[in-house]
C-alpha cells in the first residue's frame, strides 16, 4: 500500500488523533523455520491485536498468514500467543498494553505450524472423533424430550465452548510432551465427555458405553494434574477444571476407586 492509501485509511477512523506507533514482533515462517520479525505499526483508539495484524497485512506484509473469522470472540479462529500467553487476537484490546511495550505475537506452540500465525489444529478434530457421540434415548421420539433447566445447566456451560483450542494449546501435558498426544484428549474433549455424562437424557450407559471409565482408560484423564491453565486461558470463562475435569475425575473415582459406590450399585441393581 502506498503512503496516501495508508493516510486515507487513517482518516476514515474517528479519533485518529489518538493514534500512535506500536512495536510488534510477529513470528513469520513455516515448518522449515522462521523468526520473529519486527514491525512498527499504527494503532488507533479502541483497537484489538487482530486489527493491528490486519493493518500489517494491508500495509506491510500482504502475505502474512493469519486465521480469523468473526472478529467478535464467537468463532474461536484467531487463537495465537500474545506476549507468550495463549489468547484470541480479536479479544485482546491494545489498551491493555503500554504504548511503549513491544508486543510479541506467535502462533500456538502446541500444534504444528502451517505458516506465520496459522497452525494445523487437526489434532483437535481427530480427538473429537474419538469421543462417542450423544446416544439418544430409544424410547423417546423428537418432540418428546423433557428436561429441567437445572438438569441441563451444567452441560450448557460446556457447550459455550467456541473450540478456539487455547486450552489444548496451553495444557502442558501435550504442549511440553508431544508424545502424550496419542493418549490424551486434552481439556476440550475431556470436557466434552463430562458434558455428555451430565446430559440428562444421554443413553450411553444403557447402550454399554461407560463414559466415566473410558474418560480415564481411553482418553487420558489421569494425565491432567489440574493445574488449571485451561481455565485460565478460556475466553468463554468456562470453569473447565472445577466444573468439568474434577467432577469427571470424581466420577471416574466412583467407578474405579470407591468400593462403597461399587457395592451400593451392586446391591441396588440386585434389588431392582
Amino acid at each position: 500500500m502506498t503512503e496516501q492509501q495508508t493516510a486515507q485509511h487513517v482518516a476514515e477512523q474517528p479519533g485518529a488523533s489518538g493514534a500512535y506507533q506500536a512495536h510488534f514482533r510477529v513470528w513469520r515462517g513455516d515448518t522449515d523455520g522462521g523468526a520473529l520479525s519486527d514491525f512498527t505499526v499504527e494503532v488507533h483508539e479502541g483497537e484489538v491485536v487482530l486489527d493491528i495484524i490486519h493493518r500489517l497485512q494491508a500495509t506491510q506484509a500482504p502475505d502474512l498468514a493469519v486465521r480469523w473469522n468473526c472478529k467478535a470472540g464467537k468463532c474461536g479462529s484467531c487463537s495465537a500467543e500474545i506476549n507468550g500467553r495463549p489468547r484470541l487476537m480479536c479479544m485482546t484490546r491494545m489498551s491493555v498494553f503500554e504504548r511503549t511495550e513491544t508486543i510479541t505475537v506467535t502462533p500456538m506452540r502446541a500444534f504444528p505450524v502451517v505458516r506465520d500465525l496459522v497452525t494445523d489444529v487437526s489434532f483437535n478434530y481427530a480427538k473429537a472423533r474419538e469421543i462417542p457421540a450423544f446416544v439418544p434415548p430409544p424410547e423417546l421420539g423428537p418432540g418428546e424430550y423433557r428436561m429441567q433447566q437445572e438438569d441441563v445447566g451444567r452441560s450448557q456451560e460446556f457447550r459455550k465452548c467456541i473450540e478456539c483450542f487455547l486450552c489444548q494449546d496451553t495444557c502442558h501435558v501435550v504442549r511440553d510432551h508431544e508424545e502424550n498426544k496419542a493418549a490424551f484428549a486434552g481439556p476440550r474433549f475431556l470436557m466434552r465427555i463430562a458434558e455428555l455424562d451430565m446430559h440428562p437424557l444421554d443413553a450411553a450407559p444403557e447402550s454399554g458405553i461407560d463414559r466415566k471409565r473410558t474418560a480415564q482408560d481411553e482418553h487420558g484423564l489421569g494425565y491432567c494434574n489440574i493445574t488449571k491453565c485451561c481455565t485460565e486461558v478460556c475466553p468463554e470463562h468456562i470453569k473447565i477444571t472445577d466444573n468439568a475435569l474434577i467432577p469427571l475425575k470424581e466420577r471416574a473415582a466412583d467407578r474405579k476407586y470407591d468400593p462403597l459406590v461399587w457395592l451400593g450399585n451392586k446391591i441396588r441393581r440386585r434389588t431392582e
Partner: protein
Amino acid sequence: MAHVDRQTWDVVVVGAGGAGLRAAIEAREAGMRTAVICKSLFGKAHTVMAEGGIAASMGNANEHDNWQVHFRDTMRGGKFLNHWRMAELHAREAPDRVWELETWGALFDRTPDGRISQRNFGGHEYPRLAHVGDRTGLELIRTLQQKIVSLQQEDEKEFGAYDARLKVFQECTVTRVLTESKSGSATGSGKVSGTFCYERESGRFFVLEAPAVVLATGGIGKSFKVTSNSWEYTGDGHALALLAGAPLINMEFVQFHPTGMVWPPSVKGILVTESVRGDGGVLRNSDGKRFMFGYIPDVFKEKYAETEDEGDRWYEDPDHNRRPPELLPRDEVARAINAEVKAGRGSPHGGVFLDVSTRMPAEVIKRRLPSMHHQFKELADVDITAEPMEVGPTCHYVMGGVDVDPDTAAATGVPGLFAAGEVAGGMHGSNRLGGNSLSDLLVFGRRAGLYAAEYVTGLTARPAADPLQIDAAEAEALRPFSAEGEEREGAADRGPAENPYTLHQELQQAMNDLVGIIRKESEMFEALKRLADLRVRARRAGVEGHRQYNPGWHLAIDLRNMLLVSECVARAALEREESRGGHTRDDHPAMDRSWRNINLVCELADPQGDARAADPSLGQIRLARRETPPIRRDLLELFEKDELAKYLTDEELTR
C-alpha cells in the same frame, strides 16, 4: 489440466454453516457419499454469530401459536413479497427440525415443564424462538457438527474410515461450479458435473466431481463497509450460481440490522442481538425519548402499543396488551434509527442508545444476555448492566439469492445445482424476521440434501467434468500472481497492479454510501459507474508471495464474487421504484402494490466469456422482471381482507 487432483463424490455441499451441514446430514443419510467444503475450519461458520434463536411454532410458551400464525408473521415481515410456498413449508416444518436437534444432543433452554423455552422477537406474534441464552447459533452449529461426527463414527465402524461416506474439506474455497458442456464451450450451462476448488493452506487446486452441488455459502455482507458479517460472506454461492448459469432474484433486498455496535471503530457493525429488545431493552435518542413510538407505520398501527405503559405491560401480559414498537420488523427499526441520527438526536458515536440497565436487574441481564454482556465488556469496555449501549444499523442479511424451486431447493436452469439458506432467495421476501434464518437453514438445508440425493439417484449417467473448464478455472485462479507489470492484450487490462485490499475497501465504501440503507437513483448510477471501474481494476489485482496460505490472493479471488453480487444489488435497487422491506428509496418512499408480485431476476449478461467484465461501459448483469405465482387461496384466507388490501392489488384481491 491433467495434474489437477480429482475425487468423485455423489453430493458436494459448498459451505458448512447451518444449511450446509443440515444438507450434508440429509444427503449422507439418504445413502449419498457426501463432501462438505468450507472456507473456515469446521464448526466456525458464520451461523455461530446468530444469537436470538430458531423460530418454530412449537407452542411451548403460548399454546395459541401454530404454523399458520408463523406463516402470517413471515409474510407480513417480508411485505408479502415472499414466495408463499417457501414461507408455508418453512412454517410447517420448523418445529420438526428443532425437535430433531434435541435427538442429536442440543440443549435448549427449558420451560418449567421441561419443554423447549421460546422467546419473543421482532415481528413474531407469540414467543417463538427456541434459544440457548444468546448463543443459539453456536448451539446449532455444534449440534450439527457433532451429528456429522457421529455419522462419521458409524462409517468408521462399518468401513474403517471416518471419511468413507462423509468428508469435510475445511479451509478450502470453491471458485467454479463445473457443468457439462452443452456445445463444447468453456462455460456451458448444462448439468452440474462438480466443483473446482483450492486448499487455502497449500494453494493446491483440486476438483470434486459430483452430479449434484448444494450451495450453502451464506450472504454478501462483506461488500459493505459496516456489516455484521464475517470475512467469509463474499457472495461466493451467489456468484457461483450466476457463473454456472443460474439466476438470482430479489437482490435489491438487503437487511440492515438496526442494532450493530458503533464503537470502537474496529468492531463497528458487530451485532447486538434483537433479544436485547425482546427481553425488555428500549431505544432512546439523545433527548432520552423512546422515539420508536413515533415511527409505527400505518400497516402496523393496530398491532403495536401507543404508550410506553402499554408496551411495558406487554412483557408480562402479552394477551391483553400490544407489543412495544421496539419490536417492529428490522427494516422499520433500522430506518427509524437512521432518521434519528440524521436529525441530530444521535449518541456521541453516531448511533442511538439501547438500554437494558434501567429495565432489568444486573443478574437478570447477565443470565439472559451473557454474551452481550461479555461482548460489550471485552470489546467496548461498557458494562451493559450499568449504562446504555450505543447502536446503529449494520448490513446483516441478504434476502435475495439463487432462484430456487420452493419444494426441492433446486436452482433454476442448472440441473444438479441446489441452494439453501441465505444464498437462496425468495423465502423471506423483502425482509427477514429475526429467528427465521436459523429455521430456514434447517428446513431448506434438509430439503436441499434430500432432493439432491433424489436427483443423483434418478440419474442414469454422470456428467463428466469438462477439462476445458478446469483449465479455464485454473487460469482464472492464478491470474493475480501474474498481474504485476504485465502487459496483456486489450487496453482495459493495462496499468499497474492493484492492491486487492484497497479495491475491497473502495468497494465496501461505495456500496455503503451509495446502495446502503437509504437509496437514491443518482447515487445508484454513481455506484454502477464505480463498480465498473473497480471491475476493470480488479482484473489487475496482483499479489506477492506464493500460494501457501496467502490471504491477499484469497481476497483477489473473492473480489470477482463481490463485484458480481454488488452489481446485482445495485442494478435491482435502481430498477425497483418503490420502498419495501430491505429496500428503501428516498425518491420513491411509498410501498407500491403493483410491485408486490414482481421479482427482479439477475442473470449473467455474457455467459460465454468475460468480454463485458473488461469493458467499463457495459455491465455483467442483465435484469428481467418476473411475476410470482398467485398465493394459494387457503393461505390467503389466513389474513383479514383489510390487511390484504394494503399489500395486494385490487385485481389480485378479486381474482
